[in-house]
């Protein structure tokens, strides 16, 4: 390619990356705004709102609920997602394609469909909304993330490793402990971290499965819509960004994959 073409592409890349990042940086800057009115440029700087947010009863409660939901949903996703990935990667059977399609469905269908569907399931089943109804909602898409990560890892490792282990006299547990587990562990950690990050800021499915409960994203959404306590919201938003960025960076280091798409 010509030199001019390369430079033009590079310039385009810089512009698109700026488009992706400037809004994130702006909203993070607002967390340190010492005025209660949101105008740009920011006139003065303060750390006051972080203290205020930390001492806010509602913020604490919704943070705690989000953490609990995220941890339980991630745990469920790790068990279900890795089981499904092991079966899909290692075995050929009737209906294999349909099952892998079924597992990807929560990602392909709009979140509102998943949310509404679960909501109607709960209504018809007479199940009252609780932390568990949120967890089930989150688990449906967290499973997909773990499944994709583990499946991508398994596709890149040879099944003959397991056969070799068996040939050398190891039983199923030993094979799992010394062969399968070392291969999978980082993929599981990465998938788990991404699943947690996804659950921690999910809002659409949660709207339909939470009822009167407030997770952290619901707290943020409610207050933005009403234009209330925006300085506190900004501080919370800053923390949410940091809390989702860290697991993503760690998981990327572990797998060098996007976690959303299984590259081969």
């Amino acid at each position: 390619m010509s030199r001019g073409g390369r430079i033009a592409l590079g310039a385009w890349a810089v512009l698109v990356l700026a488009f992706l990042w400037i809004p994130l940086l702006i909203i993070m800057a607002y967390a340190f705004n010492d005025s209660t009115i949101q105008t740009w440029p920011i006139s003065g700087w303060t750390l006051h709102w972080f203290k205020e947010a930390w001492n806010d009863h509602e913020v604490r409660q919704s943070l705690w609920l989000s953490v609990k939901v995220g941890l339980i949903a991630t745990g469920a996703a790790l068990v279900l997602g890795s089981g499904a990935a092991l079966a899909i990667a290692r075995f050929r059977f009737f209906g294999r394609e349909s099952i892998s399609f079924l597992l990807l469905l929560p990602l392909a269908l709009p979140g509102i469909i998943t949310g509404m569907a679960l909501n109607s399931f709960y209504v018809f089943g007479g199940i009252s909304l609780s932390i568990w109804t949120i967890v089930i909602g989150h688990a449906t898409f967290c499973v997909v993330v773990v499944y994709n990560n583990v499946l991508a890892r398994l596709r890149r490792t040879s099944p003959s490793l397991i056969e070799a282990s068996m040939d050398l006299g190891a039983d199923g547990w030993q094979t799992f402990r010394f062969v399968t587990w070392p291969v999978l562990s980082t993929a599981l950690v990465a998938g788990g971290l991404l699943a947690f990050a996804l659950s921690f800021d999910e809002v659409i499915v949660t709207t339909f499965t939470a009822g009167a409960q407030t997770t952290l994203p619901i707290f943020i959404l409610d207050n933005i819509q009403r234009g209330q306590q925006l300085p506190i919201v900004n501080a919370v938003v800053f923390v949410v960004i940091v809390l989702t960025v860290i697991p993503v960076i760690i998981s990327q280091r572990l797998t060098h994959e996007s976690g959303l798409l299984s590259s081969r």
Partner: protein
């Protein structure tokens, strides 16, 4: 190999070996044990929920008691069909999904091309992370950010005024929604396009050159067809995510910019009319089903 020391406990070890061998000889048993929990959970809860949703679209709400009445009726669909408001809302939603998909493809392709075929590997890795982080960071937060940027005293007008231009009054309009949707879903387009471009072997391009094709011809006849599955894979996300959203219209759209999602959310949250919401929700599901069939034909699933 510490476990081999357990050979000192023969009965347990023998039992374990027998169990392993039994499982090894019956792969279907092992596969079922692994698959049963996720498949049963998904089949019962997820498919059950989708079925419940679909069925309830044919029920209705008693206007006096507000309770769902289990009598079969097409009334919800009739209302939707006859009221032009719903046609407009559906048209706006689908049109926006299409516009956003095209915008993202245009924005993403050159960047993805730069990543895959121009940038040195360190730069590529850095860009990859810079695209990945916004993808996983809270989308609610990113919409909120644009709400502040587009506001009257926001960063956009500050920049425009600094350049001597007048205020851009695009807050709470369809233009605002178009920008914000394109912004939030952009990484979902970049990554699959990048993956598709990266997989094109260099010697295909050399072969095309050897056969006498110039740069543009090679691009049109070799690179673009091979990148297409990636673009379609990305478009599944941008299209589907826009189709089902109601947060962006609520936060940056103005009066009269409702999406299907907003109507659905209102019907459930405020009116308690699940059957009507379910009926309207069949629109994005049908659109997505058609879209997925076409995408599969174009080879997008292999690019996922």
């Amino acid at each position: 190999m510490a476990d081999l020391a357990e050979a000192g406990r023969p009965p347990i070890r023998a039992a374990r070996l027998r169990l392993s061998a039994a499982l090894w000889r019956r792969p279907w048993l092992k596969a079922s044990l692994l698959l049963a929990p996720p498949v049963i959970a998904f089949a019962v809860i997820y498919l059950g929920s989708l079925a419940a949703l679909f069925i309830s679209a044919f029920w209705q709400v008693d206007s006096f008691t507000g309770k769902v009445v289990h009598t079969w009726t097409f009334d919800n669909f009739k209302t939707l069909w006859e009221d032009h408001t719903y046609w407009r809302i559906a048209g706006r939603t689908i049109g926006m999904a299409a516009a956003v998909t095209v915008t993202d493809a245009v924005l993403a392709f050159p960047l993805a091309y730069f990543m895959a075929r121009v940038a040195p590997s360190r730069t590529r890795a850095a860009i990859f992370v810079l695209v990945l982080l916004p993808l996983w960071s809270s989308y609610l937060v990113r919409i909120y950010s644009w709400r502040t940027i587009l506001a009257k005293n926001g960063a956009l007008n500050w920049v425009l005024n600094g350049l001597g231009l007048p205020d851009a009054n695009i807050a709470y309009t369809n233009w605002a929604m178009w920008i914000v949707f394109s912004y939030v879903w952009l990484p979902f387009m970049i990554l699959p396009v990048y993956a598709a471009l990266e997989r094109i072997p260099q010697n295909y391009i050399e072969a095309s050159g050897d056969l006498g094709a110039r740069g543009w011809r090679t691009f049109r006849s070799v690179i673009l067809p091979l990148a297409l599955p990636g673009i379609v894979a990305g478009s599944i996300f941008t299209f589907s995510l826009t189709l089902g959203d109601f947060i962006t219209p609520a936060l940056v759209g103005g009066a009269g910019s409702s999406f299907i999602g907003n109507v659905v959310e209102e019907q459930i949250g405020i009116n308690g009319n699940l059957p009507f919401a379910a009926a309207f929700a069949t629109v994005p599901v049908v659109v997505m089903a058609v879209y997925l069939v076409i995408a599969k034909r174009l080879g997008a699933f292999e690019a996922l």
